[in-house]
Symmetry: C2
């Protein structure tokens, strides 16, 4: 009996310590690389480019098509649908708080949002342009864009690199502080319900926080380019692996070709996870409680009780932040001539 | 010589009279049917539904996909692209100032924006839902929508008709007064350049205004359901008809099956026409000056001089209004479960 009390005391002491050491609120600003400080002029231009479908091959797909800032920063699909109804192999990661990742894409194959922004433009199943310079030619063919590039980058600045810098600058404003969790961590002890606090402690105790640490719940603070990866699934002796085809995708190995990168994925943020179903790299799981059960089984070799699952889900719901209000940009006019008119498209 | 002066005087007298009689600024509010007065709660809900792609069959197509309010209220394509990359047969009309049309669609086949809003949802090449109630089931499956329907329409109000009413209410806010033309008509004589004023007079003198009259340049004021149509092309003895396949589409006849409706189309608004290329029901013409030349030839049996064409284009550019700033809605969350997750889509 004495021992039992001691264990309980120790347990609550440990979890208090975890709370004191580990829980961090989201910063009010996202980090930016030295050569691309975030400025209002870049953000304004970047927002236009982010929302503009006209430089995709069909004129129908923008960054926002798959990373919809009116939703959870994704598209609610299993895998995204690009030009001509083509679909890809992985679930669209949320753009919200993507600025807090030290590498981009599920496999971390690029270091910066600036690099990421260029990828989908020439991906044949996303925006489908044959060449990134051809996409930029489309932007250059819209007279109204010139002034916004000049405001952001000076004269003669309509380049792919600057377009990508502007999009990245806009994306660095897409952060969601002030969740119930953030208010709790900052001292408002009523911001979380008892169940959410129980879930928060459980999240730490069972080890979720070993990977999902830091202010964005995506791992420790790292320099750009230094990715934080985990093997998913780590434990395969459970019903979920086959049911949701969790080992079909080799993850980072497809990029690096190294055996040790098999099934390694960047640890995703958990912020706003209640708004980003379906889940995982393959989008195969369409239930947040099920996603929690799967993570416990595949990463911690643990079968969660219903109560613990519900408590953790309640805690995860407290990670939904305040989305900033975004005013729609006016996309510059092509002035009496469309850059997308083509009866064959 | 005397006669020539008299004619010039008479001409300028006539054009002054035309100006006094005919030129009208855009009203600050769009008309609404009696059973759907525009309210802030409906507009708020309607904006969400308008922007929400989740109740299309793929989860990728919203009203805004083809009628993009960040652009000219259209999609800059020849014909729109809906689900699975399918394309339709007619050019997407602009949503801006569509509230000033007495009938909707190119062929005027429905009377109200409320009716129009339902059409694309079940069109297999637009939003592609098999049944409008199934689309509404998708909306009903998103818990966060309920409160917005209640605010707009009261309890138990999540119906197709109310969704359409909300979208129509939002669309009635999509109007663009305060163009240079409007300021000119209201007394600011410096609002138009001399060339634009020349174009304005030419527009009246040669007869464009016979059809493109009224504050929205889409015909006389009419009751909802009483459409204003014109035969296009009226004159076929010109190079344009074959070049741009202007007689391939039977227009309103396809809907009414009446011989007299062959090639009859609703007279479209000319407001913001500089932002809505490509032009005409088939989107075949990708140049505003060319569109002006074609209209003169096919509707007025007239070959315009280069000067007159340029002047009229300059006037049409003065019809671009002030687009209201629109704040992006936050689309209600589906709470840890996507309504669009399906690996087969």
């Amino acid at each position: 009996m004495k021992n039992k009390i001691l264990i309980i005391l120790l347990g609550s002491l440990l979890s208090t310590q975890v709370a004191a050491m580990e829980w961090q609120a989201l910063p009010d600003q996202a980090p930016a690389p030295k050569d691309n400080p975030t400025t209002p002029a870049k953000v304004e231009l970047g927002k236009m480019l982010y929302m503009d479908p006209r430089f995709s091959s069909t004129g129908t797909v923008s960054c926002n098509s798959c990373h919809n800032v009116m939703e959870g920063g994704d598209d609610s699909r299993t895998t995204s649908m690009g030009v001509h109804g083509k679909t890809g192999g992985r679930n669209a990661p949320t753009v919200w708080n993507s600025a807090f990742h030290s590498v981009q894409f599920w496999d971390g194959r690029v270091n910066l949002l600036e690099d990421q922004a260029k990828g989908p433009v020439t991906n044949p199943i996303e925006m489908g342009m044959s060449d990134i310079e051809k996409a930029m030619d489309q932007v250059r063919a819209i007279p109204g864009y010139k002034i916004y590039f000049e405001k952001a980058f000076g004269i003669n600045s309509m380049t792919v690199d600057n377009a990508a810098k502007a999009v990245a600058a806009f994306e660095r404003t897409l952060i969601t502080p002030d969740s119930a969790y953030d208010r709790f961590v900052k001292g408002d002890r009523k911001a979380l319900t008892t169940q959410q606090q129980n879930g928060m402690n459980k999240f730490a105790e069972i080890g979720c926080i070993a990977c999902h640490s830091g202010p964005a719940f995506n791992g420790p603070d790292k320099e750009f380019g230094d990715g934080f990866y985990a093997k998913f699934p780590t434990f395969t002796d459970n019903v979920y692996v086959q049911q949701y085809k969790l080992t079909s995708d080799k993850g980072r190995q497809d990029h690096t070709k190294k055996a040790e990168d098999a099934h390694m994925f960047r640890v995703p943020t958990l912020r706003n996870i209640n708004d980003t179903a379906p889940y995982f790299h393959n989008g195969a799981v369409n239930s947040l409680p099920e996603a929690v059960r799967i993570m416990a089984a595949t990463q911690l070799n643990m079968q969660l009780s219903k109560q613990d699952t519900n408590d953790i889900v309640a805690f995860l719901e407290a990670l939904t932040g305040e989305y900033p209000q975004i005013t729609m940009p006016r996309l510059p006019s092509a002035n009496g001539k469309s850059i997308n008119a083509n009866p064959s498209l």
